[in-house]
């Protein structure tokens, strides 16, 4: 059964290629069957392979062929299956299938139906390659593949130039991180002589001591790549803009799978990170600061998708925090539960947007609780899991992260406190969303109800968002065993209480109105702060002033540069030759015949030796 592994990425690839070569001439029904069905087949195969893997319990290594051979460098096209890969694959194919199913209805009226599924299947393929890769080079291929698909899907409605700009921004900003990652790969290869993950980890352990400079450098470069892909500070600015894409795309790429690739990368190379405690600390700090910043920003946004985008950034910050404190299992656990509940929230938002004439502003919604019950229950369950209310999936994973952060010697309690503040904010903004959209008076009437193909994935994701916390992940063999927990009851109690406090606060402020915050908001400090938060801590402005404008200015200055003169003169000479030669083309048959005769005379004269 394990031999079926290569089939899993093959299904979406074949479907994508088929959809591409038929260039939209396939009937929509067939496109839907092919697009969603291929991912469904992948999910089934993953299930089979997963069962076989559980039975054997051994990591499975499968080499398909040698990719290229350059000197001693010969990366294989090879897959590696262990617990971590299996978790990621299940999330990608499982949640991916539900989102594909949702999309078949969501995108029904779009003219580019088959293009959409071609891109989406290609994305699933690239993402599977990313997580299944046995060496970092193949991983990088998947890494860039998902980047391209993200670009294509963010700019899916390319007729609007703003969407194209958003897509370009997503591509360029992640490219900054990818460059760092490529440098990291170069460094690892020159130092360790291989990019195959398992031998590389062994080589690193034998060559390097804990705290050496090289592993720190390599890990920081890898972190750069992870930060770009996972939208963490300082490269997070692309994710909110990436919401320009269709909502299921946001659910699949920008919530459940691609943005968590950074988390996966760090977890996959955790043996390197264990050699570099400063890099670990950097991961934890990046995660914590990002999660707080994004949570503050999410508090004041109007756009339903932007709220969710900032929430995603914040939650991935939690995962980074977990990785940074060495809570590998907790980080991956949160990755999985987050994939469930954030996909649920995004699809719920998609259903709301779909049924509400593409309305994005939450203050123009309201009272949808009775009108869109499916979306309401999805949102309620998703928000509960997001806010980590007890017994939802998010509760278990977030609790695990916070407790393990607390136990980190030194900075632990501080990280814990920061995480708690983030949890409080998360509860407030997520229930602000629920209360504003689904309670209160109705402002926009929905013009339709979500159909079966939307409701079924939502329901399934609801179930997953609730019970996801009880899944036992097969990660024991992958990560070093964490120390025994001895959390005091006080710490645990506080962790449970904080989201509830947040919920109550949100209720008081946004629903019952008993807690008046207008005075606070309208004070000059409050207004400035709100504006500051609303703009995402003015990061876009900062980058614009710091990087974009100086670059544009420099380009403007260098327009008349002398290097161009050389190239322009080459062009001029070519043009002159062209004009001269084109005079010989008179279009007259006799002229051509005469020229030929002239040539014949010269040739015969040469043969005779006259000339």
């Amino acid at each position: 059964m394990l031999k079926l592994l290569p089939l899993i990425p093959l299904f979406p690839l074949v479907s994508s290629v088929l959809l591409m070569v038929t260039t939209g001439k396939m009937p929509k029904r067939l496109v839907a069957i092919l697009g969603a069905g291929s991912v469904g087949l992948s999910a089934l195969t993953t299930l089979l392979v997963g069962l076989a893997f559980m039975e054997s319990g051994q990591p499975h290594h499968q080499v398909l062929w040698t990719w290229m051979q350059v000197g001693t460098f010969s990366p294989d096209i090879a897959f590696y299956l262990d617990g971590l890969t299996l978790v990621m694959m299940s999330v990608i194919t499982g949640v991916g299938f539900l989102i594909h199913l949702f999309s078949t209805e969501f995108m029904e009226e779009d003219v580019s139906y088959s293009r959409y599924f071609a891109y989406l299947n290609m994305f699933v393929f690239a993402m599977l390659i990313l997580v299944m890769a046995d060496n970092l080079l193949l991983l990088y291929l998947g890494w860039e593949g998902v980047g391209v698909c993200s670009y294509l899907l963010v700019g899916f409605w390319y007729q609007n130039p703003d969407n194209g700009l958003a897509a370009r921004k997503a591509f360029v900003v992640t490219r900054v991180g990818d460059t760092a990652m490529a440098l990291g790969l170069f460094l690892l290869f020159t130092e360790l002589g291989t990019l195959d993950i398992q031998p590389m980890a062994a080589a690193a352990n034998s060559q390097w001591q804990v705290g050496d400079t090289l592993p720190v450098l390599a890990c920081l470069l890898l972190l750069g790549g992870a930060v770009g892909k996972s939208a963490q500070l300082p490269l997070h600015t692309w994710l909110p803009d990436a919401m320009a894409g269709p909502t299921p795309v946001s659910a699949l790429i920008h919530a459940a799978t691609m943005v968590t690739a950074g988390v996966y990368l760090i977890a996959r190379t955790h043996e390197l990170f264990l050699l570099a405690p400063p890099a670990m600390l950097a991961v934890a700090l990046v995660g914590l600061i990002t999660s707080l910043m994004a949570a503050f920003t999410a508090l004041v946004q109007h756009d339903i998708k932007r709220i969710l985008a900032y929430s995603t950034i914040s939650q991935i910050g939690y995962m980074f925090l977990a990785l940074g404190v060495g809570a590998w299992t907790a980080g991956i656990f949160h990755l999985m539960t987050h994939a469930f509940f954030k996909a649920l929230l995004f699809l719920g938002a998609g259903a709301v947007i779909h049924c509400l004439h593409h309305e994005h502003n939450i203050f123009k919604m309201g009272g949808l609780r009775t009108r869109l019950p499916v979306a309401f229950w999805s949102f309620l369950i998703g928000s509960a899991a997001l806010a980590a209310l007890p017994f939802t999936s998010g509760f278990f994973s977030k609790d695990m992260i916070l407790l393990q952060a607390y136990e980190l010697p030194g900075a632990g309690p501080w990280l814990w406190a920061g995480g708690l503040l983030g949890a409080l904010l998360t509860a407030i903004y997520s229930f602000r969303l629920v209360f504003v959209v689904f309670f209160g008076e109705a402002k926009t009437e929905p013009d339709r109800q979500p159909g079966l193909r939307m409701a079924v994935p939502l329901t399934l994701l609801c179930v997953l968002a609730i019970i996801g916390g009880w899944f036992a992940l097969p990660l024991a063999d992958v990560f070093p065993v964490a120390g025994e927990h001895h959390p005091s009851h006080l710490i645990e109690g506080i962790s449970i209480a904080i989201p509830l406090i947040g919920l109550v606060l949100a209720y008081l402020i946004f629903l019952s109105g008993q807690l008046k915050i207008d005075g606070l908001v309208n004070s000059s400090l409050g207004r400035t702060l709100k504006k500051f938060w609303f703009s995402g801590w003015a990061m876009d402005l900062l980058y614009d002033r710091l990087l974009v404008r100086p670059y544009k200015g420099l380009a403007y200055m260098l327009r008349g540069e002398w290097v161009d003169v050389i190239y322009n003169s080459i062009v001029k000479v070519c043009q002159m030759l062209f004009v001269g030669l084109s005079h010989t083309q008179t279009g007259r048959l006799r002229w051509y015949a005469t020229s030929m005769v002239f040539g014949v005379i010269v040739v015969i004269a040469l043969l005779l030796g006259v000339i």
Binding site: S582, T586, G587, L589, R590, V597
Partner: protein, 104 residues
Amino acid sequence: MDGVSIPLDHVLLLSALLFICGLLGLMMRRNVIFILISLEVMLNSSAVAFVAAGARWGQADGQVIFMLILAVAAAEVAVGLGLVIQIQRRFKSLDMDDADRLRG
């Protein structure tokens, strides 16, 4: 056929003269039909040269090549005359100087 035989040089000279005549026609005439006729003359002159060479060596190869030249001439005339008809329809004249759309 016995007795005095014909000098090869003279036959080849005739071939050369015919060829030059065809060439002059090709370079000077504007009418498509005459251009085709010139081509025929040139092909024919080369056929003369081949047959003469074959006769010089007493080999049949010269005549075989002559038959191939016949095939080439037939194909060329068929296509060329088709083009003549098209040119007449498009430009309403047979003057090749009217068909100068390839002018640079």
